[in-house]
């Protein structure tokens, strides 16, 4: 059939062009980078095999952490309003209620030992530099003590219902001190001017980042921002895989709220269009049989 040949030629030319300007160009502009590492294997300061003691952990946390951090779920409200906390530390220290649930155990232990190296921010806070990170290093604690703190944080972490609720909670706890989510009516806990001074860059509103960056990029970026945006001031936050998926799911729920509706409508529209196309075909056959 001649017409099918013509169609094949056009499809080939369009296919080649499409391949060049989409998958191929994308591959050139965004080269593949190393895969996300949810074991945070570069962090080795604390022996995470030690079994933590929850009671001792509680003592350590109450003595060391709640001066800065709220832990609402354990009955420790914030010491001061957000604006004051932001003014004192540069950024509002996050509520630690969900910390045990969200952060990878290895990351959390090493973060307490030395926040700057765990967050991959040594370029911003070099050893012996003038700037100091607002949260102290607890490298004076023994490995056992750090694991006690971790065990305690894990023990108080609330059970949240999977789905939207967990997704939102994870986003607020992990990103909410810096990033707003306007389309989800969430405002960053740290005021925007303060956070800019603290970070040296304004954390963008993430409402549409699921669309502008896409899931694949976010998956790698959140796991380790330095890999995709070398030198950025955004810290590695150390989420375990599940929490990270929840964060991305929340970004999709707010940024692409109509996805389910779109896909369902799409199927229906295509079915109806197919029926139209078939009817048009039969009609054409009938009409043309008279002239051929």
């Amino acid at each position: 059939m001649k017409e099918l040949k013509i169609l094949a030629v056009i499809a080939t030319l369009v296919g080649i062009t499409y391949y060049g300007i989409e998958p191929y160009a994308h591959h050139v502009m965004h080269p593949e980078v190393k895969a996300a590492d949810f074991t945070f294997s570069d962090l080795k300061n604390v022996d995470t095999k030690l079994a933590g003691n929850v009671t001792n952990g509680q003592v350590l946390v109450e003595a060391n952490c709640i001066a800065c951090h709220a832990i609402e779920k354990a009955g420790h409200p914030a010491m001061m309003p957000n604006a004051d906390a932001a003014a004192s530390y540069g950024v509002v220290p996050p509520d630690l209620s969900h910390a045990g649930r969200m952060y990878d155990k290895n990351y959390l232990a090493n973060f307490i030992f030395d926040p700057v190296s765990a967050m991959h921010l040594s370029h911003k806070y070099p050893v012996g530099g003038t700037k100091t990170f607002p949260m102290p290093s607890y490298n004076w604690m023994t490995g056992q003590e750090i694991m006690d703190v971790v065990a305690y944080l894990q023990s108080i972490s609330p059970k949240v219902k999977e789905g939207s609720e967990a997704n939102k909670a994870s986003f607020e706890a992990a990103c909410g001190r810096c990033h707003s989510m306007k389309y989800g009516q969430l405002e960053a806990t740290t005021p925007v001017d303060t956070i800019k001074t603290y970070m040296g860059a304004t954390p963008p509103d993430l409402s549409q980042y699921i669309k502008s960056r896409g899931e694949h990029y976010l998956h790698g970026f959140i796991n380790d921002p330095q890999v995709l945006l070398a030198g950025t001031s955004m810290p590695r936050v150390g989420l375990n895989e599940k929490a990270q998926e929840e964060v991305i799911a929340y970004m999709e729920e707010t940024g692409d709220r109509k996805k389910a509706e779109r896909e369902a409508t799409g199927i229906n529209v295509m079915i109806y269009t197919f029926i139209f196309a078939m009817l048009a075909y039969l009609w054409k056959r009938k009409i043309w049989s008279e002239v051929h």
Binding site: V14, I21, Q208, S212, K258, G266, A280, Y281
Partner: protein
């Protein structure tokens, strides 16, 4: 004034006053189209439908869109995409439609070139078609700015900047187009006006001219055959439908177009719902920021080939800067298709593959345009810059050579 007898039916009442019978005959049932055509002749009807779809979806968007630098982004991405019932559907249809319409325009245009449908009486069809191409380009470009995303902003910045290369008036011209020294609110509001008023009106006018220009020379056919339409039409009306070389626009020609349209819409809706990234660039979901240049700036896919011609000249030749050379080449690239009927010196109206020399020219051009399009998107560094230069030169050389190639062809075939 003519005598009006009492009408027996509502239809007759209108017919007396509007001549419906006659009108339908002239426009539809006795508007003759050659029978010997393939689905490529359905592209014009596809384009008419696509334009209607863009118009209707655009009107819906217009009800919620806010042409203001501070509100545009959220009015599109929040209000339209999330709050308004099925607002997302209109946006997807509009944005994907604007992209797909160019695919069809290019197929339509190169069908015309392939079958030689731009010469021997069809010059005005061709020129009005090119006018539509330019108007649609302006419509696409102005529309792309409206969501006020990063790519809206920076593509507008780069493209308006091009006019700065024009000698003497360049600098002032850029400011005049933008309404400011940089791309700003005033740029957005004027592009909004162009996009929803002036250019759509001009498009409607150009469509009328295009259709009218088709009337007397008639549509070409698969073999480029010239025949007496009146004679063939009489044959058809006398009942020899199978023997006649023509068919009426309605219902015969349109029945085939609807069939092609059906399958085209299937493809279109697949893209609209499930594969829209190519038309709604992810980068454009970042709000415009005049202080933050994106790593890669590129126009929409349908401008890539001419954009690459612009970028292709990246070094000075004989004392003329690369920028100026690129600008000249870009101007030529955008204008050259208009004079296609006069560059082709061969009288042959035949499908390219039946023309001894033109066939090579045609397929060379297609290949070159694909290379230009692909490299128009890639970063212009290293070897890419040279591919760009060579393919841009090839483009120009092809058009310089066309009169000579076709002249030689005319000689070879002896004026047939």
């Amino acid at each position: 004034m003519a005598e009006f007898k009492q009408a027996d039916s509502l239809y007759e009442w209108f017919d007396q006053r509007l001549g419906i019978d006659k009108f339908v005959k002239v426009m539809m049932t006795e508007y003759w189209i050659p029978k010997n055509i393939n689905f490529l002749w359905a592209m014009g009807v596809l384009l008419t439908v696509m334009f209607t779809i863009l118009l209707v979806s655009g009107i819906f968007l217009l009800m919620y869109y806010k042409p203001d630098m501070n509100m545009a982004f959220d009015s599109v991405n929040y209000t339209i995409m999330q709050e308004v019932g099925y607002g997302w559907l209109f946006r997807h249809i509009h944005a994907v439609g604007a992209s797909v319409v160019f695919l069809i325009i290019y197929i339509h245009m190169f069908t015309g070139i392939y079958y030689g449908s731009y010469k021997k009486g069809r010059e005005l069809i061709w020129i009005s078609g090119m006018l539509l191409f330019v108007l649609f380009s302006a419509e696409g470009f102005s529309g792309y700015m409206l969501p006020w995303g990063q790519m809206s902003y920076w593509a507008a910045y780069v493209i308006t900047e091009i006019f700065g290369g024009i000698p003497v008036i360049g600098g002032d011209l850029v400011v005049w187009i933008r309404g400011n020294f940089y791309v700003s609110d005033s740029t957005l509001t004027r592009f909004f006006m162009l996009h929803v008023l002036l250019i759509p009106m001009a498009i409607l006018g150009a469509i009328v001219v295009h259709f009218y220009a088709l009337r007397f020379p008639h549509v070409n056919n698969e073999e480029g055959e010239f025949f007496d339409f009146d004679k063939e039409a009489d044959k058809y009306l006398a009942g020899d439908k199978k023997g006649s070389k023509v068919v009426p626009f309605w219902p015969v020609f349109l029945s085939k177009d609807f069939f092609v349209l059906g399958f085209f819409l299937l493809f279109f809706f697949y893209l609209t719902f499930f594969h829209y990234d190519f038309a709604m660039d992810p980068v454009n979901f970042d709000k415009a920021d005049g202080l933050k240049t994106p790593a890669h700036i590129y126009p929409e896919w349908y401008f890539l080939w001419s954009y690459e011609v612009l970028r292709g000249f990246f070094f000075e030749i004989a004392g003329v800067s690369g920028k100026s050379l690129g600008l000249i080449a870009f101007a030529i690239a955008n204008a050259i298709f208009f004079v296609m009927p006069w560059l082709d010196r061969s009288p042959m109206v035949k499908p390219a593959n039946q023309r001894p020399y033109f066939k090579y020219w045609f397929w060379f051009l297609i290949a070159d345009l694909i290379v230009l399009t692909v490299y128009g998107k890639l970063p212009p560094t290293g070897a890419n810059a040279w591919v760009g230069f060579v393919s841009s030169m090839t483009f120009l050389v092809l058009f310089i050579a066309l009169p000579f190639i076709t002249k030689a062809e005319a000689k070879k075939v002896g004026g047939k």
